[in-house]
């Protein structure tokens, strides 16, 4: 009986294996196999099969980078007007970083009949060919020539008629070479309505350390205007989050002039996360609150070593509740605050944590863990 079962199982396995081999046509080249898979995916619209086939091609060590590009490019040419497949294949090409195929990508971008979505993906693939200077080995002449071509292309694309193309080009340029030229492109794109508030604010913030003082002030003024247009609106919440994330870096904030620091702090003071109505009621924004408080410390010139005292003072001196205490205790300076706080200070913080029940919370949501951990840290 056992023997028969084993034979049946073996027959099933062998049968399955032979069917798999037949289906794959083991004599086909990787390119033929891939193009066959793309054809199948075009019929079935099955992204999962396309993932498997594309990964098999790109991760195949025996296929040269050139052959991989040629295969994906052929697949793209076959389906360049089929949105899903075209976007997929160009995006996959971008991950190959085909440095010697810049012209082919630019030519395809320039064709009048190339669909908008393909052009956006082409911008991203071309931008990926930029090699940023770094502290490592110097760029070769070829790198520098290509970098110049890529940046020129991105500047042209930033003036395109298609807003989606403009956005992709400006974001890429902004990250490649932060500075006055990028800041100008960001402003222009924003005036055209191509960026959207979040991109405009994020990219503008990223330019700040790379700008001369006058440009820095103008950039900061423009994001504060946008963030303050609608009191407690989504722009104010997004700007508060972004400023918290970037300004909490001591070195980043050191690059900002005194006047602009005061303006930034005045804005943050009116936007305490979790307190103003723009924040969602689905849970307390613990990470955002901690970032916000650290950013306010940095704007006041507080160093790493003085930050625990600053945060402790802010928690004790304000009307902070349990959420605020838990947010700070969970993050970077929490352990130091717990060890530096005096007995009365710890009791005061624990009291606020125990009052959390007065604040509306979604039942069962994971923040209870953060509160429990804060209690554990302070109740030593």
């Amino acid at each position: 009986m056992t023997f028969n079962m084993r034979n049946i199982a073996l027959a099933i396995v062998l049968s399955g294996l032979s069917q798999t081999l037949a289906a794959q046509d083991i004599s086909a080249s990787p390119a033929e196999t891939y193009l066959g898979s793309v054809n199948e995916a075009a019929k079935s619209q099955n992204i999962g099969d396309l993932d498997v086939a594309t990964r098999a091609l790109i991760e195949n060590q025996r296929v040269s980078a050139q052959a991989k590009f040629d295969t994906l490019w052929k697949a793209y040419q076959m389906y360049r007007t089929e949105p899903t497949l075209a976007a997929y294949t160009v995006s996959a090409i971008g991950f190959l970083k085909p440095v010697d195929r810049l012209q082919a990508l630019k030519d395809e971008f320039a064709r009048k009949d190339t669909p908008s979505k393909n052009r956006v993906q082409l911008v991203q693939a071309i931008a990926g060919l930029y090699r940023a200077p770094s502290a490592g080995p110097a760029l070769t002449d070829a790198d520098q020539t290509r970098n110049g071509d890529v940046l020129l292309f991105l500047q042209h694309a930033a003036a395109d008629q298609d807003s989606d193309v403009v956005r992709a080009a400006v974001l890429a340029y902004s990250r490649a070479v932060p500075g006055p030229r990028a800041a100008a492109l960001i402003q222009q794109a924003n005036q055209r309505g191509a960026l959207g508030a979040e991109h405009f604010m994020r990219e503008s913030i990223i330019q700040i350390p790379a700008l001369p003082a006058a440009d820095q002030d103008a950039t900061i003024d423009s994001i504060l205007v946008l963030g303050g247009l609608r009191a407690n609106g989504p722009e104010a919440v997004t700007l508060t989050r972004l400023l918290g994330a970037y300004l909490k870096s001591e070195k980043f904030t050191e690059s900002i002039g005194a006047g602009s620091r005061q303006k930034l702090d005045a804005f943050l003071l009116t936007q305490e996360p979790g307190r103003t109505p723009g924040w969602a009621s689905g849970g307390f924004p613990y990470v955002d609150y901690n970032n916000w408080l650290e950013a306010r410390g940095r704007l006041a010139g507080v160093s790493d070593s003085a930050m625990p005292d600053f945060m402790l003072g802010q928690l004790l001196g304000s009307s902070s509740g349990g959420e605020q205490v838990a947010a700070v205790m969970a993050a970077q300076f929490g352990p130091t605050i717990a060890s530096k706080a005096t007995e009365p200070q710890r009791k005061q913080l624990l009291q606020r944590l125990s009052n959390t029940g007065q604040v509306s919370l979604l039942p069962g949501v994971g923040q209870h863990d953060l509160h429990a951990r804060a209690v554990q840290m302070l109740a030593r």
């Binding site: 099969d49 993932d51 350390p209 994330a245 970077q332 994971g366």
Partner: protein
Amino acid sequence: MKRVLTAAAFACAATLVHAANPWQNADMVGRDLNVPLLGSIGHVGLWSGAVGYVIEMLDEATPLQQNTLANFKSRTSYWGASYYSSLMSRPNVQVCNNIAYCDNLISYAPDYALQWQASLWWAAGATYTTTVFYTHPQPGGWYTPESPPWGPPAQPIYKGPTMGQFRCDTFVREVWRTGNTVPVASFPGTQLPNTMFYAFSIR
């Protein structure tokens, strides 16, 4: 294909029977994909209790978004939440203290670390790809390029954080994989949002 169909069947069943809210930090939330005929492929996001929002990659003008759970649930048929059952037994995870300039690695409890990472990546921004490939955002920093022998010494230059590149499932997977918190072997071999969602424990 079989796996996709099986997962799709589970998805339908889950919608009918049980679609719980997320409640642990870094839970995965899932729903139908908002594309006609492809809904069962699904869409996933990361519930971030410590941020108070779902952080998700969408094929939209601003791809990496923080949205309320109500917003996530309102768009298509909601599947519920899934989670990695060994999460809290994993060791602490080291993550960058900030995205502008990573001058310090901080050790956090695994659930908080994953949300911290998602929040950092949101601050860096990301572009959307429909492929299974991805790029992690990298923090910004100052660097001094090599000075040419004939010129003055080069000055430090600020290089902002690089953007990530994800689709919805690779974003959640890469956040979960931070510091190998969720081991790679836990994820399905052929990954789509639906196979990934149902590869883990369901709330």
